[in-house]
């Protein structure tokens, strides 16, 4: 590029004559950064909407109750499965770093291997998310329209047992505390076989008798929309990683002699997906 440099009257390099890269970054990399900035604003908009809706209702389901199942029929394992998912995503980010490093060393085989590892990580994450969604929709009946995760506003005692039947004589009543979250279950009707919600009757500390209330509807919609949007980013990342990996294997980027810049660009995108997950994890599962 030094040969193309045009000097102006004062003998300085003319920035307007072309052949100069702004911010010493290639066009593609710079535009990837600005795309990621705009995408960050999209995600931030969703997460701020989550916060605004959460602040606008009296109660919100506790994440350590809602997300406490683990494959293999394990319950009461709060946040463990999502921690595993987080580790998978961190691992795939690390293998992506390796792929970019091998690209700088012009090592084609290394790039392909570490990109393949990254794709495996991305697919594992998607598999975990598919399980999580299946469990929430199929077993726990949460959808974008209904949220069976309600939260107690006061201490109190249940008047029915877990199946919604009044306690038998001598059976000890179950008590609950304010701010604890419960799941309203669907139970099959004896005669018709049709599944119906069982909202247990309860007596609150102030003496009122009521039934379990459904949780804020927005919870389900926000959860599926935001984690779904992130999952879609992971999915499209996997698609692009696959295409670029095949191009690497075919020797396309080796010909360009730019240290596999395309791998670097998809690397930026992939790290961004991990970055977004840091905040989705914080907002949905930790806070």
């Amino acid at each position: 590029m030094a040969n193309d440099t045009v000097l102006n009257q004062n003998g300085e390099q003319d920035v307007w004559s072309g052949a100069k890269e702004p911010f010493r970054a290639s066009y593609g990399k710079l535009m990837m950064w600005y795309f990621l900035l705009s995408d960050a604003f999209t995600f931030a908009g969703f997460l701020v909407a989550y916060g605004a809706l959460r602040f606008s209702v009296p109660t919100w389901p506790l994440p350590d109750f809602v997300f406490s199942t683990f494959p293999g029929g394990i319950h009461h394992a709060p946040l463990i499965f999502v921690t595993v998912m987080t580790f998978i995503l961190i691992m795939s980010s690390v293998t992506m770093v390796r792929a970019v490093q091998e690209g700088h060393r012009e090592n084609k085989k290394g790039v392909v291997f570490w990109m393949l590892m990254t794709i495996v990580g991305g697919l594992s994450f998607l598999g975990c998310q598919a399980w999580e969604w299946t469990n929430l929709i199929g077993k726990e009946n949460m959808t974008i329209y209904q949220n069976p995760f309600g939260t107690h506003t006061q201490d109190g005692v249940y008047l029915d047992n877990e199946h919604g039947v009044p306690y038998a004589a001598g059976e000890k009543a179950e008590t609950f505390k304010a701010h604890h979250t419960y799941l309203i279950e669907k139970v099959a009707n004896h005669d018709t076989g049709k599944k119906d919600w069982v909202q247990r009757r309860m007596k609150l500390k102030d003496g009122t008798e009521t039934v379990q209330q459904f949780g804020p509807q927005a919870f389900g919609a926000l959860f599926f929309f935001i984690t779904g949007f992130h999952g879609f980013h992971v999915f499209s990342g996997v698609v692009f990683l696959t295409i670029i990996m095949l191009n690497v294997a075919s020797g396309l980027y080796a010909q360009r002699k730019n240290h596999y810049e395309m791998v670097e660009k998809i690397g930026l995108y992939w790290h961004f997906v991990d970055l977004v997950w840091v905040f989705v994890f914080l907002v949905f599962y930790l806070l």
Binding site: F23, A44, G45, V94, R98
Partner: protein, 131 residues
């Protein structure tokens, strides 16, 4: 960016893996410990838990952007043009979270009026009960 030799490269990778992994574990531990899952009935106050978890997440974000995405090797102008606009999000958060709770308070007020007994004036408007 300077050429990385293979050993230095591996060092960055191992450091990143351990750091992100440990910080995530600490975050999950704070969540479980603070919500009474480690010692039965022991809870940490939210004002203590939340800033810690938010701080650790911001640290993870910093590490991913500066180390993994190589932002620390980019020139100042690029860094500023990508990072500074995110300051606007602080305002979005303050404004909309405040809006959300104002919305909740006015809902609670209207509910109170709607359920007031006929002929009796509802007493002082209740504020939303915060947990």
């Amino acid at each position: 960016m300077a050429e990385l030799d293979i050993e230095a490269g591996k060092k960055v990778v191992i450091k990143g893996l351990i750091l992100l992994g440990v910080v995530t574990l600490v975050e999950v531990f704070i969540a479980l410990f603070g919500n009474g899952h480690v010692i039965d009935g022991f809870h940490l106050p939210k004002w203590l838990m939340y800033p810690m978890m938010i701080g650790l997440s911001l640290y993870k974000a910093y590490f991913i952007i500066f180390e993994f995405m190589h932002m620390k090797y980019e020139v100042k102008g690029l860094r500023a043009s990508v990072l500074l606009p995110t300051i606007l999000l602080i305002w979005a958060m303050l404004a909309l979270l405040n809006e959300g709770s104002a919305w909740g308070n006015s809902n609670a007020k209207i509910n109170k009026w709607n359920t007031a007994e006929p002929g009796k004036k509802a007493t002082a408007p209740p504020t939303k009960e915060m947990k």
